[in-house]
């Protein structure tokens, strides 16, 4: 059976096509100002990549913040449910799935079948999501993709006091003025967000294995900081931003 999952994220739209539980193709596009149009384009490109036509897809399941406007979808699943299914698909040993996206951080507890047991969300606050690192990279004048590697070169732990993204921007500027090395500042930024994600996850109780997914899971600096903050090792899949879409494609018929 062939199914598709569309994850309508705040920043990116991710599409995954599965056949008999094997991934056929993946596609990603910026959400932009017309999320629906972007999703249509991403979906059709992913179909072409798989060499399939729309009629070959048995079921199309939407998830993510914009799932209500997802095109073609005939079913939907919550983001937490998709995280659990997708996480357990990639790592059957996963019991805790931490998903850090552009505008939201979540932690989901699941069983060996990928069934969600419990979850916590940090929403409506940029400080606990990828937007935080993005805003800090602008304040630091370092490209977003260089933030992680730079963070690994840090020699000293510098504390950051501000919890709010807006206040943290000013704090980064004063750290630069105080001639703090950019690598140390970068680590401070990742430690700060990791600290918040770890506290949130602790409310669930941390059960191993813990896997980290979502767009921010591509940031090596964040991975290291989160390992430190949680005190456990983390499993990170190759394309962590697709886990929600994979979960959606695996969602059972409603």
């Amino acid at each position: 059976m062939t199914t598709a999952g569309i994850d309508m994220g705040a920043r990116n739209i991710k599409v995954v096509i599965l056949k008999d539980n094997k991934i056929l193709s993946k596609g990603i596009a910026l959400s932009g100002f017309d999320q629906k149009a972007s999703a249509e384009k991403a979906f059709n490109e992913t179909l072409t990549k798989a060499g399939l036509s729309h009629d070959d897809i048995k079921r199309i399941v939407a998830t993510g913040a914009g799932k209500d406007v997802a095109p073609y979808a005939n079913s939907e699943i919550s983001m937490m449910g998709a995280d659990a299914l997708g996480g357990a698909y990639l790592f059957p040993s996963a019991r805790t799935v931490i998903d850090v996206g552009a505008e939201e951080g979540r932690a989901v507890k699941c069983d060996d079948k990928g069934k969600m047991i419990d979850f916590v969300i940090n929403e409506r606050c940029a400080a606990g999501a990828g937007t935080f690192v993005e805003a800090m990279s602008r304040a630091l004048e370092v490209k977003l993709e260089e933030m992680g590697p730079l963070s690994l070169k840090a020699e000293k732990a510098v504390p950051m006091n501000a919890q709010c993204t807006i206040f943290a921007e000013s704090e980064v500027v004063s750290l630069i003025h105080a001639k703090t090395p950019k690598a140390d500042i970068s680590k401070a930024i990742h430690d700060a967000i990791a600290d918040r994600i770890a506290s949130m996850t602790r409310r669930l109780g941390i059960q191993r294995d813990v896997i980290l997914v979502g767009g921010v899971a591509k940031n090596v600096g964040f991975i290291e900081s989160l390992k430190g903050a949680l005190g456990v090792d983390l499993l990170v899949p190759d394309d962590p931003e697709f886990v929600g879409a994979i979960g959606a494609a695996l969602a059972p018929a409603k």
Partner: protein, 292 residues
């Protein structure tokens, strides 16, 4: 350099018709906030002069600068001041202060002085935090709540919006009231997300005054939530920089269902904390004079 729309003007003032040399006791209050620094000089417990300056990267320097500016044109020297109390976020870093007192106590005391003993609720909307204070007829704090977790509902959040829309910060309030119909408030509490929401609205063709109205109204909602915990009782007053933003004040009054006492001409609402500090300075000075 591009125009900085968020920049509010620094200034000083001396109350006319007073000679400090006739005063028995001169005291001062210095309130070092995260965004602005205020110095107030009082003669026998009456307002004499004050200054409002931007806080720089160093609290001691900012305190010195604010005090120097307040002293300007008065012929007074720092030594003429008998007792100084530091308050605000940088209160322990006022080098010439005799002691530090938390801004909560100072705001309540200052509001009691400015608006009189009927004041029961003080909402201080500062640069980097927002405080709701309940006090008794002596200006003593009975309950207090502070939001310093995030920029939502603070002056800094408003500065971000002034900059985003290229509207001078003093014009934000009046402009936000110039709409024909009140728009839905911006849905995000978080200033970062509210900013992207505003960009989306502008792209949709919303004029600036509508976007500002939507933000001022979201801010009023946010602050009213904070007030719920304290229970607003009459008389109600607003201090801090946002007190001067009529767009937020009017909308907040609509939500809570009654009006805040109007700004008193003689007093800048930003100086409430430093006035309270200068009054505490007088009380502490008199007590120490008695005991020696």
């Amino acid at each position: 350099m591009s125009k900085e729309f968020w920049r509010w003007p620094e200034y000083r003032r001396t109350v006319p018709g007073k000679d400090w040399k006739n005063a028995e006791v001169v005291t001062a209050g210095v309130d070092i906030g995260s965004v602005s620094s205020k110095a107030v000089i009082m003669t026998d417990g009456e307002l004499y002069a004050y200054s409002i300056m931007r806080t720089g990267s160093s609290s001691p320097d900012s305190a010195q600068k604010a005090m120097d500016r307040a002293l300007e044109e008065t012929g007074m020297k720092l030594d003429d001041i008998k007792y100084t109390v530091g308050t605000g976020y940088g209160r322990v870093n006022v080098p010439f202060a005799n002691r530090a007192i938390t801004e909560i106590a100072c705001h309540a005391r200052g509001a009691n002085y400015i608006w009189g003993p009927k004041v029961r609720t003080v909402l201080d909307m500062g640069g980097q935090d927002c405080k709701a204070i309940h006090c008794d007829e002596r200006g003593k704090v009975t309950a207090f709540l502070m939001n310093d977790k995030c920029a939502a509902g603070t002056g800094r959040g408003m500065e971000v919006f002034a900059d985003l829309l290229s509207v001078p910060i003093e014009e934000v309030g009046p402009m936000s009231l110039s709409v024909d119909k009140e728009p839905e408030p911006v849905s995000s509490t978080c200033v970062v997300f509210a900013k992207s929401e505003a960009v989306g609205l502008l792209r949709k063709g919303w004029p600036k005054n509508m976007v500002l109205a939507a933000y001022c109204s979201a801010m009023a909602n946010r602050v009213s939530e904070l007030l719920e915990k304290i229970k607003v009782e009459k008389e109600f007053v607003i201090t801090g920089g946002i007190a001067k933003n009529i767009g937020v004040v009017k909308r907040l009054e609509n939500i809570i269902g009654f009006k805040a006492l109007p700004i008193q001409e003689k007093f800048d609402p930003m100086t409430a904390g430093s006035i309270g500090a200068a009054l505490f300075a007088k009380a502490l000075y008199e007590r120490s004079a008695k005991s020696t």
